[in-house]
């Protein structure tokens, strides 16, 4: 009895220390965002002046860094990316999981292989394709780029669809349902976890992507997303003046994502393990 009490005490101590290490950078971020003293770094950790000025400035001083606009840009892109990619992912994975046609296996392998190329290797070409359509530096081009590759993420949802017994489909088809009806009325209602997972991951992507948007937007500040915009705040020239505002901006976008993530947590696990959890 006594031995296990000591063991538990050690475990609690260990967990406290490790979780402290994990949470520390986040706490530091929040403290910095509330810091009243100027400058990039202070030689102490806890701020001496506490203030909300950084947040207020972030939304009011928009001459150089137009954060509210970037925020709306990102929201706009995220909503449409999320709609288009969710539809594409669900359709593709349903086709590969449930329908049997001649080109199924080859197509699956081809798409899988395509997804293994380093993504931004094709950015130069995509930039010029978008230019040929007259779309560069626009938000629409961002939506297209984020959802254009969605089909390549089919295998997680496919893994989930594979677990739905096919006998249900077959019964419906015997009752005279078309495959279209089976998809909408039977498969989709049973796939809530994977739908939520797909929606949330594709919604979050534009908030955190940094590379694609920097290649596409170049110097068009008005159409930046929050990630690229915030990055501008901590370049060497700006970091001294804007570091605390950067922290405030980071907190502002971390809050909605945190909430979404907590909602999505259980679906996330279903999603990631769907492809492999049936050994």
């Amino acid at each position: 009895m006594k031995k296990s009490t000591i063991l538990n005490a050690i475990t609690y101590l260990f967990l406290s220390i490790t979780s402290f290490i994990w949470v520390l950078p986040i706490v530091w971020l929040i403290m910095q965002s509330l810091r009243g003293e100027p400058g990039a770094f202070t030689s102490y950790v806890i701020p001496k002046i506490w203030t909300f000025d950084n947040y207020i400035k972030l939304f009011t001083e928009t001459k150089l860094f137009n954060f509210p606009r970037w925020f709306l840009n990102t929201l706009f892109v995220a909503v449409f990316t999320c709609i288009i990619s969710t539809i594409i992912v669900l359709l593709t994975s349903y086709a590969f999981s449930r329908l049997r046609f001649k080109m199924r296996k080859p197509l699956m392998n081809v798409i899988l292989v395509l997804g293994m190329f380093p993504g931004f290797m094709s950015m130069v070409a995509i930039y010029h394709i978008l230019k040929a359509f007259g779309l560069t530096q626009s938000l629409i081009s961002l939506i297209l780029v984020y959802s254009g590759g969605a089909a390549m993420g089919y295998y997680i949802a496919k893994g989930f669809f594979d677990t739905i017994p096919r006998s249900i489909d077959e019964a419906a088809i015997i009752d005279g349902a078309t495959k279209n009806q089976v998809f909408w009325k039977i498969t989709l209602p049973m796939s809530k976890p994977i739908i939520v997972y797909t929606i949330l991951t594709s919604f979050i992507a534009p908030w955190v992507d940094f590379i694609f948007v920097s290649v596409i937007m170049k110097d068009n500040y008005q159409n930046y997303t929050v990630a690229l915009g915030l990055y501008q705040m901590i370049t060497r020239e700006n970091i001294t003046a804007y570091f605390t505002q950067f922290c405030a901006g980071a907190v502002v976008i971390a809050i909605p994502i945190t909430i979404l993530f907590i909602i999505m947590q259980k679906y996330y696990v279903t999603g990631v393990t769907a492809g492999g959890a049936k050994g």
């Binding site: 475990t11 967990l15 994990w22 949470v23 593709t92 395509l114 594979d162 078309t178 495959k179 993530f261």
Partner: protein
Amino acid sequence: MEDKKFSLKIKEYLTLFKNSIKSFFEGFIKGDIITKISYFVMGFGSIARKQYIKGFLFLLIQIFYIVYMMKNGLYYLSMLPTLGVNTQGEVWDEAAQIFRISKGDNSMLLLLFGVSVILLSVVVFVLYIIQTKIAVENQKRIEENKTISKFKDDIRDLFDKNFHATILFFPIVLTILFTVIPLIFMILMAFTNFDKNHQPPGNLFTWVGVNNFKNVFGKNPLWSSTFLRLLVWTIIWAIFATFLNYILGILMAIIIEKKGIKFKKFWRTAFVLTIAVPQFVSLMLMSKLLHDQGTLNILLQQFKIIDKFIPFLSDPFIAKVTVIVVNIWVGIPYTILITSGILMNIPEDLYEASKLDGANSFQQFIYITLPYMLHVTTPYLITQFVGNINNFNVIFLLSGGGPLSLNLYQAGETDLLVTWLYKLTVNEQNYALASTIGIIIFVIVSTFSLIVYNKSSAVQSEDEFS
């Protein structure tokens, strides 16, 4: 066994290919006049047999294609072998007495549009084959006194028998436009000399064969030594980043899920919270924290733990350790999140039986927990490994690839092949070399994962639930 299966498969495809060629010509020879015409005029086999909408759609495609080829397509195709001959230059305008800039060829656009024209031709060719098949089929049905499908039936089939064609249409179009064309374009670029000195529109670039590959594999000592060192580091990084995160994450999950530990949800949330902060934020914060004059060094100095700052990100070796350690901070929450559910699925009696046999916790972990987890999460591990080989974020945002080294060409000590690729395109505009590296990364990654994917149980047991 595997080889035999593979060669059988190839044989299967070959006979399929032979048969379709045979039926293509047979259809023409045995065809009546309508079918024969439809081999030259797309859609004729349908129009003449009252499938007006379908037929005219095919005809429209053919007309569009011919007009486009006459107007632009043939020009782009003819420019592909040279990628342009006229350099942009200044021409003396006698009348106005000034130099005017003459518009030269743009190799990059010529290559891009050339590739697009070829792909367009392939698509039209496939449609052409499909419509000959329809014509032959229609003829056969008439000879057998069967009815020919109406447009309405075709539409209905698209939602039932041919549902796959309907739902895969948009995904495939988008994939071709935003993945396949760019990819072919970039692959071809590896066989050109598109670098700083050959920048369109001012200059042209042209084909150089496998020169870039030769350079990377030895002809250019600086390039090949850089490539080799980065390749080795990339693999070391991917192994550490994948398996350290995996094993440490499982251990953390086991500790949290241990019997008698309270507030499980609280501990889990503390770790998982870090996933929710966007990576570019947390990583850039980390890089500021670990800076030579950053907060961590200042703190350590204040508490007199160290006298001089620790070069977390500026010493070649320490920087490598730092990025791996920080990546553990980034990655462990993911593993905890994914594995804690699976851990609870391991049958309890396995542990009890092993306890009776006198196994300690360590042995239980090695012989029960780990094999079970590996079995279930292999696909996840593969994606993690591939993701780490191409892990742009952690390296780029944390160390920026630094510290820089004179022994490396345009790369720093912690640069992975991908971040090198990024630097080569963005800073150095050496697209040719970057594409070559990209192809090599791709070959490594794809062979590795295709083999493991096809062997893993998830793919094998695809139809298990049916």
